[in-house]
C-alpha cells in the first residue's frame, strides 16, 4: 500500500490537516478522507465542473488537483458558502428561482458563480454564460441558473452578502481575473 503524506491546509476558514496517498485527488480527499461530500464527482476528468472549489482564490476542478498540492493552500467548498447568519445570496437566489432540479451540479455552479460575482457583480447574461460554460447541468437548460446568478448579482450590488463572501477564501481581488481568462 502506498505511503501516506501529511498535508496542512485551510478549508472553509478552518485549519485542517490530513493524510493522503500521493495519487489521491483533492476531490477524493475532500469526499473520502474528510467526509465533505457536498463537492460532487460527475466525471473525474475536469469536464463537468461538479467538483468546483476555490483553491487559493481560483476556481478549480478538484478532481484535477492532487490532495498533496493542498499543502499550505486555502480552499473553499460548498460547505463554506453559507454563513452562520444565513444563506449566501446565490444560494437564496437558486432556491427562489428554482435553479436546481436534481441538484447534483448545484454545488459546483454556486461555487463557480460566486467567484464571478465577487469580481463582477454586474456580470450580464453573456458573461455569466461564458463563465459557467465549464459547469454542466443536464436538467435545467441553464435558463433558471442564469436568472438566479443575475438576481444574486443584484442582491450583492445592493450590499447583500458580497463583502462577507469575498473574505471567505482569502481572494476575490480583481487582479485575479487574468488568471481566470487564460
Amino acid at each position: 500500500m502506498a505511503d501516506k503524506i501529511h498535508v496542512n491546509t485551510t478549508i472553509n476558514d478552518t485549519e485542517v490537516d490530513f493524510l493522503c496517498e500521493s495519487r489521491q485527488s483533492l476531490l477524493e480527499v475532500l469526499r473520502d478522507v474528510l467526509g465533505m461530500t457536498g463537492t460532487k464527482e460527475g466525471c473525474n476528468d475536469g469536464n463537468c465542473g461538479a467538483c468546483t472549489v476555490y483553491f487559493d482564490g481560483r476556481i478549480v476542478d478538484s478532481c484535477c488537483v492532487l490532495g498533496v498540492e493542498a499543502q499550505g493552500s486555502t480552499i473553499l467548498t460548498i460547505e463554506g458558502v453559507a454563513s452562520p447568519d444565513g444563506l449566501h445570496p446565490l444560494q437564496q437566489a437558486f432556491l427562489e428561482e428554482a435553479a436546481l432540479q436534481c441538484g447534483i451540479c448545484t454545488p459546483g455552479f454556486i461555487v463557480a458563480a460566486k467567484s464571478l460575482l465577487e469580481r463582477e457583480p454586474d456580470a450580464d447574461e453573456a458573461r455569466i454564460r461564458h463563465w459557467l460554460a465549464g459547469n454542466l447541468c443536464r436538467c435545467t437548460g441553464y435558463d433558471k441558473i442564469i436568472r438566479a446568478v443575475l438576481k444574486a448579482g443584484e442582491v450583492m450590488n445592493q450590499g447583500g452578502d458580497a463583502r462577507k463572501a469575498t473574505t471567505a477564501a482569502g481572494a476575490g481581488a480583481t487582479d485575479q481575473r487574468d488568471v481566470y481568462n487564460d
Partner: protein
C-alpha cells in the same frame, strides 16, 4: 384552458396553492451541499468495489482466472457470474426480467458489447480494486462485431444470440407469434389502419425520405453509485441512486434468490436519471461482494463506465412515405422504423411506433417497427422512450410536405389534428386531448410570426406527442403534527422537484400552505409499494395517492371535531381549511386548532392511501426555434427558443418550466451534438464529457416557456405529466430550422457543422 408565459407567477388562478411558486422543501440541503446522493454515504468498514469490463464488443468467455487478483494485498473479495444464483439456476431468457438483467450485470458465457461487466473486485481502497482488475485474466474467443442495425439485419449476419428468433405482432403489447427464424431481429411490430396504397392513390403530393439517428446517452451528471451491506444470515440493505426502489428490491431479490422481505432499499438523492436509472447495474454485484467479504461495499461508476456500461437510447433508421391532398389532408402514411436494442432485446421501438403520428387523424397508416440487437450496450429508457427518434422522422417529413404543398407548417398540422374520439394507429380512440388547442397557441404565439431579421436564418417548428399511462401504483402516508402541519411520506424518487409538487396537492386538499407540508421519500420498509419514477406519472399518480390520503385525514379529523362538538361525523364539513359544524355553524376549528387537540381526542391521525388507476394520459408539447447558420463553418447559433406544453394544471409552474427547458436542452443536444462514435471493433471513442458534447450554458439562449392548462379530467386538480414530452419536438424542430436556414433538409442527426457544410455544397451543386 389557460395560457401562461414564464413572466407570470400564477397559472390558472383556480387554486390557492397549486400554480404558485413556493421554495421546495428539499432545496436548502441541495444548495448547501448537505443533500446526500448515491456516492455520499460511507458506512464503517466500507470496502470499494470495481468492475472489470470487456475490451471486446463481441466475444465468448472461455475462462476467468481471478487468483492473482485475490492474492493482491487489500483485496477482500472477487465475484463473477458464478456468484449470481439466478445465472447458475436458470437459462438466459431474452424476453426480459431479472435473469436478463443479471446477465447485463455480470456476463456469463458471452460479452456482447465493449464495457460489458465480467468480474468485480472489493478492496480496501478504490485504487487497489482497480489494480486488482488488471490481475484478472479473462480468456476471450473474439467474435465478429455486429456494429449496428445495418450489419445486424444483413443476410448471413453474425448472430448475437444462438436462440433468438424473430417475433411478429400486430398489436401493441402482444407477445407476438414466434416465426422460428433465427435472427438479430427480436421483434417486428406492425400496426395498420385503412389501406395505405389506396391512400397514396388519393394523394396529390407524396414525400419519401429516410431519417437516421445515432446512439445517445441520457447524460445524467451523477454516475451510478450504491452501497450494499449484507449482514451474515441477516438482511441485505442497499443505499442507492435509482428511479425506483421497489423495482431494485424485486430485481436484487430475484437475482440473488432471496425473499424480497430480506432486502431493504434506501433511496439516496438522485443526480439525474431521465429513464436511465430505472435499471440498476451495481446493486446485485455490490451485494455479492458484501456477502463474500463481510463488509459494506461501495461502488461508484466512472464516467467512462457510465457511457460504455449503462443503457443509452437507440440509434435508429426510419423511412417515411407520406401523402396529402392539395388542401393538406394527409391521405396515407407509411413508416419503417428500425431501433437498435443494443446487446439484448428491448429497444423503445414500441414507443416510436405508437407515437409518431398519433397526434394526427390519418385514415390510412402502415407502420412496421423492428427491435434489432447489435454489439452496443443494452439500451435503457430515455425520457419519452423511442418518441424523439420517430418524431424526428414524422415531424421532419410533415414539415417538408408543407413546403411541397405550399402550406404553412402549422396549418398543415392543424388541418390533420386528431380530435377526441379519433383513432390513432394503436386503435385506441383519443380521450380528452387538447391537441388542437396547443397547436393553435403555438401558431398564434408572437414568436411564430416574428421577423427572422437576417440572412442564413431559419425558423423550425414541431410538435411532440407523448402517450402515457401511469398507474403502476403509488402509496402515500400523511401524519398530522400537533402544530397543525403534516408530514408526507412517499416512495417516489424525486428526480426534479416532485416532492414539492406532491406536497402542494396535499396543502391544497387540507387548506394548508406548501410550507406546512414536509415531504420525504423513504425506504422500501417504510412505505407501501410504489412503482418507479418514470412515465411522467409521479406528480399525477403519487399526487392522487396523496390527495386520497388527505381525504382520509379530513375524515378522521372531522370525526374528532364531531366528538368535541357531540354531533355525528356527517354533521362536520371541511371548507377552505376549516372544520364547521353544520348543526351550529358557530362551532368551527381551523386545521391547526384541531391538530392540537388530537392527542386528547383519541390519539394521532395517520392515514395511508394508494392509487393505481393511471390515466395521466397523452399530452402535447411543441418547440419553435430560430437559428442562424454560419455558411463558412456550419456552426448553428440558436437565436430564439420557445417551448409549449399542455400540463393540464401546473402544480409548481417553475418546475414545469424546468422540465420544458431541460427537455429542450436534451433535445437540442440530440439534434446538434450528441452521438457515440465507435471504431469498427465497436469501441466507443468519445467516452468522456469533453468528447461526448452535451450543451453548455454558452450553447443556448434563454428558453421561453408557454404553459398551457387544458385540465385532465382524470385528476382531481386536472394535472397531466410534464417530465417527458418536452424532449420530443426539439429534434425535428431543430432539423426544420436548420433546413429552412440553408434551404436543404437535414435527414441525419446529429446535425454537425460538417454535415451542414456538405448539405450546403450539395445544394449549391444543384443550382
Amino acid at each position: 384552458m389557460t395560457i401562461t408565459s414564464d413572466k407570470d407567477t400564477a397559472t390558472s388562478g383556480k387554486y390557492k396553492v397549486l400554480g404558485t411558486r413556493p421554495i421546495r422543501q428539499d432545496g436548502i440541503e441541495k444548495v448547501t451541499g448537505a443533500a446526500r446522493y448515491g456516492a455520499d454515504i460511507t458506512l464503517p468498514g466500507t470496502l470499494h468495489g470495481k468492475i472489470l469490463r470487456s475490451p471486446h464488443a463481441h466475444a465468448r468467455i472461455r475462462s476467468i482466472d481471478t487468483s492473482k487478483a485475490e492474492a493482491l494485498p487489500g483485496v477482500m473479495a472477487v465475484a463473477t457470474s458464478k456468484d449470481l444464483p439466478i445465472i447458475q439456476d436458470r437459462e438466459l431468457n431474452l424476453a426480459g426480467g431479472p435473469r436478463l438483467f443479471a446477465e447485463n450485470d455480470l456476463a456469463d458465457k458471452k460479452v456482447l458489447y465493449k464495457g460489458h461487466a465480467v468480474a468485480a473486485v472489493a478492496a480496501t481502497s478504490p485504487h487497489i480494486a482497480e489494480e486488482a482488475l488488471d490481475l484478472i485474466a479473462v480468456d476471450y474467443e473474439v467474435l465478429p462485431t455486429v456494429l449496428g442495425w445495418r450489419e445486424a439485419m444483413k443476410d448471413g449476419a453474425t448472430l448475437l444470440h444462438d436462440n433468438l428468433t424473430e417475433k411478429f405482432s400486430e398489436a401493441r403489447g402482444a407477445a407476438g407469434e414466434d416465426t422460428g427464424t433465427k435472427s438479430n431481429i427480436s421483434s417486428h411490430l406492425q400496426l395498420k389502419m385503412g389501406d395505405v396504397e389506396q391512400g397514396f392513390k388519393e394523394a396529390d403530393s407524396v414525400l419519401e425520405r429516410e431519417y437516421n439517428t445515432q446512439t445517445v446517452h441520457q447524460g445524467y451528471i451523477e454516475p451510478f453509485a450504491c452501497t450494499a451491506q449484507w449482514i451474515p444470515e441477516g438482511r441485505l440493505t442497499i443505499w442507492t441512486s435509482t428511479q425506483g426502489i421497489f423495482g431494485v428490491r424485486g430485481n436484487v431479490a430475484a437475482i440473488l434468490d432471496i425473499p424480497e422481505s430480506m432486502v431493504k432499499i434506501v433511496p439516496m438523492e438522485i443526480g439525474g436519471g431521465f429513464g436511465g436509472k430505472g435499471t440498476g447495474y451495481l446493486e446485485p454485484v455490490a451485494a455479492i461482494l458484501s456477502k463474500k467479504s463481510g463488509h459494506p461495499i461501495k461502488m461508484v461508476m466512472s464516467r467512462k463506465e457510465v457511457f460504455e456500461g449503462t443503457g443509452p437510447s437507440s440509434g435508429t433508421s426510419i423511412t417515411v412515405k407520406i401523402g396529402a391532398k392539395k388542401d393538406g389532408t394527409i391521405t396515407a402514411a407509411k413508416f419503417n422504423m428500425i431501433y437498435e436494442a443494443g446487446a439484448y432485446p428491448g429497444s423503445p421501438m414500441v414507443g416510436g411506433v405508437t407515437s409518431a403520428v398519433s397526434a394526427y387523424k390519418i385514415d390510412n397508416i402502415l407502420i412496421d417497427g423492428y427491435d434489432v440487437v447489435c454489439n452496443k450496450p443494452k439500451t435503457a429508457a430515455y425520457r419519452a422512450p423511442g418518441h424523439p427518434q420517430s418524431a424526428f422522422a414524422a415531424e421532419s417529413a410533415i414539415d417538408e410536405l408543407a413546403d411541397m404543398l405550399g402550406m404553412d407548417p402549422m396549418d398543415l398540422r392543424l388541418k390533420n389534428v386528431a380530435m377526441e374520439g379519433d383513432r390513432a394507429v394503436t386503435g385506441v380512440p383519443h380521450a380528452h386531448v387538447g391537441l388542437k388547442e396547443v397547436m393553435e397557441v403555438m401558431k398564434a404565439h408572437p414568436h411564430y410570426t416574428a421577423p427572422l431579421g437576417g440572412p442564413n436564418r431559419g425558423r423550425g417548428v414541431a410538435i411532440g406527442y407523448r402517450l402515457n399511462g401511469g398507474g403502476s401504483g403509488s402509496s402515500a402516508t400523511i401524519n398530522v403534527i400537533a402544530n397543525g402541519t403534516v408530514s408526507l411520506t412517499t416512495g417516489s424518487i424525486d428526480l426534479s422537484g416532485t416532492r414539492v409538487a406532491i406536497a402542494m396537492q396535499v396543502a391544497e386538499a387540507l387548506g394548508l400552505s406548501a410550507e406546512d407540508v414536509t415531504p420525504q421519500v423513504v425506504d422500501t420498509d417504510s412505505v407501501g409499494w410504489t412503482g418507479g419514477s418514470g412515465g411522467s406519472r409521479i406528480t399525477f399518480d403519487t399526487g392522487r395517492a396523496a390527495i386520497a390520503a388527505s381525504q382520509l385525514v379530513i375524515d378522521q379529523m372531522g370525526a374528532r371535531a364531531a366528538r368535541l362538538w357531540e354531533v355525528q361525523p356527517e354533521d362536520v364539513e371541511f371548507t377552505d381549511g376549516t372544520f364547521i359544524c353544520t348543526k351550529n355553524t358557530n362551532d368551527q376549528f381551523s386545521f391547526k386548532e384541531l391538530a392540537g387537540k388530537l392527542m386528547t381526542t383519541g390519539g394521532p391521525v395517520t392515514c395511508s392511501a394508494m392509487d393505481s388507476q393511471g390515466g395521466v394520459g397523452g399530452a402535447l408539447a411543441g418547440n419553435i426555434f430560430d437559428v442562424e447558420v454560419d455558411p463558412e463553418t456550419g456552426k448553428v447559433d440558436i437565436l430564439r427558443s420557445t417551448v409549449f406544453l399542455d400540463i393540464g394544471q401546473a402544480a409548481h409552474p417553475a418546475y414545469v418550466e424546468g422540465q420544458m427547458q431541460g427537455g429542450t436542452l436534451q433535445g437540442i443536444g440530440w439534434a446538434l451534438n450528441e452521438e457515440y462514435f465507435f471504431t469498427d471493433e465497436g469501441v466507443m471513442t468519445n467516452s468522456s464529457l469533453l468528447d461526448y458534447r452535451m450543451p453548455t450554458s454558452l450553447d443556448l439562449p434563454m428558453i421561453d416557456t408557454v404553459i398551457i392548462e387544458y385540465p385532465n379530467p382524470r385528476h382531481p386538480y386536472g394535472l397531466r405529466g410534464a417530465g417527458e414530452h418536452p424532449i420530443i419536438a426539439p429534434l425535428p424542430a431543430m432539423a426544420n430550422a436548420v433546413g429552412r436556414a440553408i434551404g436543404s433538409r437535414m435527414l441525419t442527426l446529429p446535425i454537425t457543422p460538417g454535415s451542414i457544410i456538405e448539405a450546403i455544397k450539395e445544394r449549391d451543386a444543384k443550382k
